[in-house]
């Protein structure tokens, strides 16, 4: 085998989503409704772990990483971040027509882009779920769309030739699997703690960034098959899960608060700890 033989190169694709950074959600205290638009974006944590997994494989093997995202123009940021961490090139799918896509259509759009722009992949890595919509569906659906095998919730992996060895915990079973490549894995955040971004990497990522931006037209996609229009599921309503809570607010001196707490909720707490918490006379 000759050195620099690109057929030996492990070609990886990492799918990345930008999600809102919500450490303090801007709530409307009266209605319990939250304003999503105010939130800053960030790379979804599990996607970052998937990228980390790919980077470790790249360090171990002769590898190449293509990062892909679909989203509004501001999502470009996560691709720069991916380049700074060590991805080699990026694909940005951005088109107003793609907005509002559910998982069915998102996976369809991503799969078409992969087929057109990077079809010679060995391994696709996705985060096991996103922190915003939390569906955990896009990864397996991309695999189905591309007709390749997939394994979800992967804790650890290693590539051996044209197969990949996977460890995961599935329903209380510690499974070791061997999957044929090309294939797709979705990665948990457990084992692959992402590296910090080096400043030098960031400088390079903005030097001559290797990012290709494409729209629906470049993928020859009919607008009726993508975005909100093409999505089989429709969202009727979004509401705060805490809206139904009574949310009793207690203020004042700690001692008074605690007395008030037991006055009102002695039964609620007492029944759980199986103790009578009525005030002692």
């Amino acid at each position: 085998m000759r050195a620099g033989d690109t057929t030996k190169m492990l070609k990886m694709i990492v799918c990345i989503k930008q999600v809102p950074m919500v450490s303090e959600l801007p709530w409307d205290p009266k209605t319990g409704v939250l304003t999503r638009d105010a939130a800053e974006g960030m790379m979804n944590p599990a996607c970052k772990s998937a990228l980390e997994a790919a980077l470790r494989l790249k360090e171990e093997h002769n590898g190449q990483i293509t990062a892909i995202t679909m989203g509004p123009p501001m999502a470009m940021e996560v691709l720069h971040e991916a380049l700074a961490m060590g991805a080699d090139r990026c694909l940005m799918l951005s088109d107003p027509k793609m907005a509002g896509a559910d998982t069915q259509v998102t996976s369809f759009t991503l799969a078409r882009a992969i087929e057109i722009f990077c079809s010679d992949y060995d391994l696709i890595l996705c985060g096991c779920h996103t922190s915003d919509s939390e569906t955990a569906q896009v990864g397996p659906q991309i695999a189905e769309e591309l007709d390749i095998p997939s394994a979800a919730y992967v804790e650890n992996l290693s590539v051996k030739g044209k197969t990949i060895r996977i460890e995961r915990i599935a329903d209380h079973f510690l499974e070791t699997l061997e999957m044929d490549l090309p294939g797709l894995v979705t990665v948990t955040t457990g084992h692959f703690t992402p590296r910090y971004i080096p400043i030098g990497g960031l400088q390079d990522a903005f030097g001559e960034p290797n990012i290709l931006t494409v729209g629906a037209h470049d993928l020859s996609l009919d607008e009726n098959t993508i975005g909100l229009k093409g999505s089989p599921t429709k969202i009727l309503e979004v509401f705060s899960s805490t809206a139904g809570k009574k949310n009793v607010v207690l203020t004042g001196a700690p001692k008074k608060i605690v007395e008030e707490l037991f006055k009102r909720f002695d039964d609620t707490i007492g029944s759980v700890i199986r103790k009578d918490l009525k005030a002692v006379k």
């Binding site: 450490s23 922190s131 955990a136 095998p149 499974e175 699997l177 309503e237 607010v249």
Partner: protein, 333 residues
Amino acid sequence: MERKKRSIWVFGDYRNYFQNRVTLQLISRANDLAKIIGAEVCVTVFGHDTDEWVGEYIAHGAMKVYVCDHPDLKFYSNDVYITLMERLVRRYEPEILLVGATTFGREFAPRLAKRLKTGLTADCIGLDINEDGILIQTAPAFGGNLLTKIVTPERRPQMATVRPGTFQEIPHNYHATGEIVPVPLPEDLPKDRIRLISSERQPSREQKLEDAAVVVCGGRGMGSRKKFKNLYELARVLGGEVGATRPVVYSKWAEDETLVGQADKHIKPKVLFSFGISGAIQHTAGIKDAGFIIAVNKNPNAVMMKMADVAIVADAGQVCTALIRELKKRIRS
């Protein structure tokens, strides 16, 4: 041509039967929904030596069970199960197809939905039927801070994965009868592209924190390591466990095992005390199944305070001390 009877299907996920009752819970909810739309409740069982599960499903409310029993199906397999299910669905055209949100279900359902070109809602915590007979699927987002109601208005079946523990199973009924429909193993099943090298049952790990009925969680708002230690005393008095946020563990105020959060332990206490925790999503994702929440924070606008049943605006350390004192007074020996 015979008109097909409307049906609601449940995927029979029998692995870990005794811990995982989600299939039974789904059969129960399917029965509720079936009454509204006038449908029958069907379950599919793929595997080998499955009589026991088939019997169980009927005893818990299944009216019809499609059974494909064959030695080749001994292990769960995505590729094979999806193909089997796809063919059955195309043939019998159920209105609704429910899958438990187990690890397997979460991998199986998305691919199946894709192949059937229908919509799928993930990890539902509520299922209802609206006036048009459409399935309303309620699913969490943003670490449980938001709920969304989702429908699949046109495509069929309407598919959802459902979080275990969402619904109550119907009690076991030995007299229940149901129809068993054997499904022959097709000869042209795909070759599995994933091989199982080993599968070991995880020794049942200590899950004290995960299974505790009362959890006392603390964050940086406790102020110091010393004050944080008081939470252990409170937990002891309550007969509960202590959980912690990531910053607290990073500061070495608490052990790694106490970490509660998205990538860490997910807890489901009936009563959760939350001290000095602002409610970053990385943490709240781990407590979305908590019942009654009592949060203590100086900041009344903290996310955690909005999520709470009782929001105590005060210094977390002082309230902890006051609680210990008051509890000791009230709990008589």
